[in-house]
């Protein structure tokens, strides 16, 4: 699914706004066009199909109920939706944090050393720009940021995974955020 064209974006914005007005058809169409992206995100973060399905369901239930709070001047519909699904996934991870930490087999799956765009996926200009800025980071710091973003891990979990002291992880991430911020705002 491509959401990189402005026209596509506008259409999604409109569908989300219509959903906010209880338009069930628009909601069904919105689901059809965005659920595979959101499900990809949920799966990536939770690494468990059942959990990801539940979180996806929660996400769209919330979309239906809260779509009227969507403000197109703040974010595009797709950003709003992805953010919502990530937030739900992170909340879920926080609930199950102990289980996940106790299951090393799951942790092994987490590290993705191939952070390349999915085959055939169209990447947006925003992504290319972000990628350039990420490339300016020290390799270790860049992979910490990615790990954090894609797995929703806390500072503590990241420090454990990367086998560095908590303070080091914090300063890596904060330094990276600072650098990204200055790079992206140019």
């Amino acid at each position: 699914m491509s959401v990189s064209s402005p026209a596509e974006r506008d259409e999604l914005n409109q569908l989300l706004q219509q959903t906010g007005r209880n338009d069930q058809k628009a909601f069904a169409e919105l689901y059809k066009r965005t659920s595979s992206k959101l499900f990809g995100v949920c799966l990536r973060m939770l690494r468990d199909r059942g959990e990801a399905e539940e979180v996806l369901q929660e996400t769209y239930t919330t979309v239906w109920r809260r779509a009227d709070s969507f403000d197109a001047s703040r974010a595009s519909a797709i950003t709003w939706l992805v953010t919502l699904s990530r937030n739900k996934a992170i909340d879920r991870l926080r609930q199950h944090r102990e289980e996940l930490l106790d299951d090393p087999s799951r942790l092994d799956e987490t590290v993705d050393d191939q952070p390349t765009p999915a085959a055939g996926a169209e990447t947006s200009q925003e992504y290319l720009r972000l990628q350039q800025c990420l490339d300016e980071l020290e390799p270790q710091q860049q992979s910490s940021v990615r790990e954090a973003f894609f797995t929703g891990a806390t500072y503590n979990e990241l420090a454990t995974r990367c086998k560095v002291p908590l303070g080091t992880m914090k300063s890596w991430i904060r330094r990276s955020l600072m650098q990204l911020r200055t790079c992206l705002d140019q």
Partner: protein, 265 residues
Amino acid sequence: MNTPIEDGNNHLRYAEYVLGVLDADTRAEVAHEVLVSGEAATAVALWQRRLMPLTDTIGDVTPAPYVWARIHDALQLDAPARVAPRKGLWDNLQLWHWLGIGASAVAVALLVVVSLPRPTTTPTVVNAGYMAATIQQDNGSTGWTATMDLQHARMVVVPATPVAFEQGRAPELWLIPAGGKPISVGMIARDKPTTLALDPALLARLGPTAALAVSVEPVGGSPTGQPTGAVIAKGAIDAAPDAGGKVAMAGDGQADRPRDQSSPA
């Protein structure tokens, strides 16, 4: 030196929130800030715009079809097959809102619904096809009125006076069969009419011995399947007055003052 006036955009904590590294408590704090402070909301939105493009690298995965079915059920959306094509009185939410002044008024209106000639080929509506309930709050004022259309297996719940709920809480409607456990009918809106589909199990239990109740639940509904919060309103279900009885409404559709005690909304 003058400290520049800041817009909250300098707080790295908002970035950490969006990145997802904060623990549950701190996350909740920031989430709360976002709700109450425009500054925080803007800073978080900016960081979302900065970081969300990372999800471009995640491949799409099509979810199984049953996920949509579950969402559909959970939200009690009209199934495509069940969407009533006829735009009649039933679908006129304005009217339902106006009717929110009391169950009697709804009942009166229903008399009109069933007795007015309809531009449709549907067989004559059975009089007993409707039931109504006034769901009263503890202080005696009407919280919602519910009207059940048995033929079409649906219920419209209209708030009389919007009830205040704290953040994160919402009203959930329950059917309580005589001597039975509450059955969730669905989440209802506090400030506008809600149309709910009634499944056969629920339909079978509707009747003069059953009651409706509204409890305070998390926005997504009771996590246990049973009411977990305070019951704030309840009311018995009555069959709508028989259409053969007196029609307390003038032919031009102007309702007489309903003869009930409840105060107008």
